[in-house]
Symmetry: D2
Subunit: 166 residues, 4 copies
Amino acid sequence: MMRKPVIGVMGPGESATEIDIKNAYKLGKLIAKENWILLTGGRNVGVMDAANKGAKEAGGLTIGILPSNHTKNVSDAVDIAILTDVGNARNNINVLSSDLIVACGIGLGTVSEIALGLKNRKPVILLSQHQESQQFFKNLSPNLTFIAVDTEQIITLIKEILKKVK
Amino acid sequence: MMRKPVIGVMGPGESATEIDIKNAYKLGKLIAKENWILLTGGRNVGVMDAANKGAKEAGGLTIGILPSNHTKNVSDAVDIAILTDVGNARNNINVLSSDLIVACGIGLGTVSEIALGLKNRKPVILLSQHQESQQFFKNLSPNLTFIAVDTEQIITLIKEILKKVK
Amino acid sequence: MMRKPVIGVMGPGESATEIDIKNAYKLGKLIAKENWILLTGGRNVGVMDAANKGAKEAGGLTIGILPSNHTKNVSDAVDIAILTDVGNARNNINVLSSDLIVACGIGLGTVSEIALGLKNRKPVILLSQHQESQQFFKNLSPNLTFIAVDTEQIITLIKEILKKVK
Amino acid sequence: MMRKPVIGVMGPGESATEIDIKNAYKLGKLIAKENWILLTGGRNVGVMDAANKGAKEAGGLTIGILPSNHTKNVSDAVDIAILTDVGNARNNINVLSSDLIVACGIGLGTVSEIALGLKNRKPVILLSQHQESQQFFKNLSPNLTFIAVDTEQIITLIKEILKKVK
């Protein structure tokens, strides 16, 4: 048996911008269409919620790795809710459980996930207008940091990366 | 949307008995037939491995919550591997992420999972010939500890319990 | 340099009995007098609180491993509060960070700590009138489970065990 | 009772520069002289090891929050080793358990700690020649990010910050 690729989509919750949310929704949709599994932080806000909604509308399977021990704030579009009860430490579980991470937007939680992802030798694709953060991570980890300008390019990039790592 | 019930099957790894493994395999199969999701500790030994194999053969969906940060010891029959890298602390994630826990056999890891499950107010069904442990947990948590004599009875019990908690 | 022995005292919080609390207080005192470090779950209730108070009154050093990300419920008698924010998963950190564990009383959290302690090959001393649990763990792990009838006997036992493991 | 301030010193392990190590050593010394408690990631390399050595030589108390479940790689200058066995997720415990964090140098682990520290509303002081990372975090969290040019300035800054938060 071969496990399906798991694509982690990380990004701001409450502080997500409209563009982040639009991108996350499209990304969720495209990931589901490729028959990949979507993994997010699972909450019912921001990038997490939007990516899950996109994936569900396209018939995908969605995993949410929650910081809490209850399901009150789980996105309705999460199929399987993993209740870690480890707070922000779940960010490390998010990146370890993903074959590849897409950071959609920027914020402190997302920065910790990008850093932990790269530290764990996971490829990370950055999608944001935030050039400063792109350069920052590119300098810290040149071989594993990828920059994308739109969601379509991300799918192409993921296919290329998965070919190499599998 | 309603998330499907997640049934956690916990039990010994390397020290599982032949009976534990036979029970876990049957249980995995029966859980999958009910269209419930199977959640285990995910490793390729003992009760975890057997339950996953049973579930996969019946076409079910299987989640493995691994203690490690790598996939070397993941059961081939796990569809989605959550790599927690939190060691035995993942036992708490196992029980929190399950709607209901079945303990199939006994061992120190399993004892910690039964105790953490009951502490988190999760129903726990004990399947083992081990009367002493049944009585021990029944005394500690009379309302949430259930005793079963075989796998078929477990499925009946799960249906009854799910009706109440949902 | 040699690190000082760290003695973990585990036991019920809100559900501790008067005897548990009395024992924990005496135990904390005796541990401090031996110049050992006391480690507990750190909250301001039950066995944790009493053991810390005993140790502080005898001039000892006390470490509390908290389940939360804040200091609201930390015992006043804790010198160093480790805020894990991993909920009950901190029970595994408690036992790993102790050279030896004393279980003072019984409850579901304590049962998980005894089981995780023994699984991690730590000596565990049980102090309780609860014969059933003593026998239960003695059967699961005969070489690492020790039974004590009072706090003085525990100190003698700890000295013997530390001599062997160091 | 009032708990003593806990100052977290974070920074690269294997990839620390000579300057990072020199700064960490001096910082450990100065922290101990103020009678504050030093908290680090606890391993016997880089910034962690150097800070602990500085603190011990000045007679301080040192806490190490280890990623592992064993003491093989603990710095000799750690007084109390907390064995979390949660891998890089211990970075969240490091920052939560510190009243204030000093990042001494830069690397992926350190970036995750700075981000998690700021996310948890902890003041973070950056000590490095790395202007890009200073600006990056200053933009993400202007009120909690502080820049220092040397270890003496850090101590002055810590005193000012502790006055406000206590």
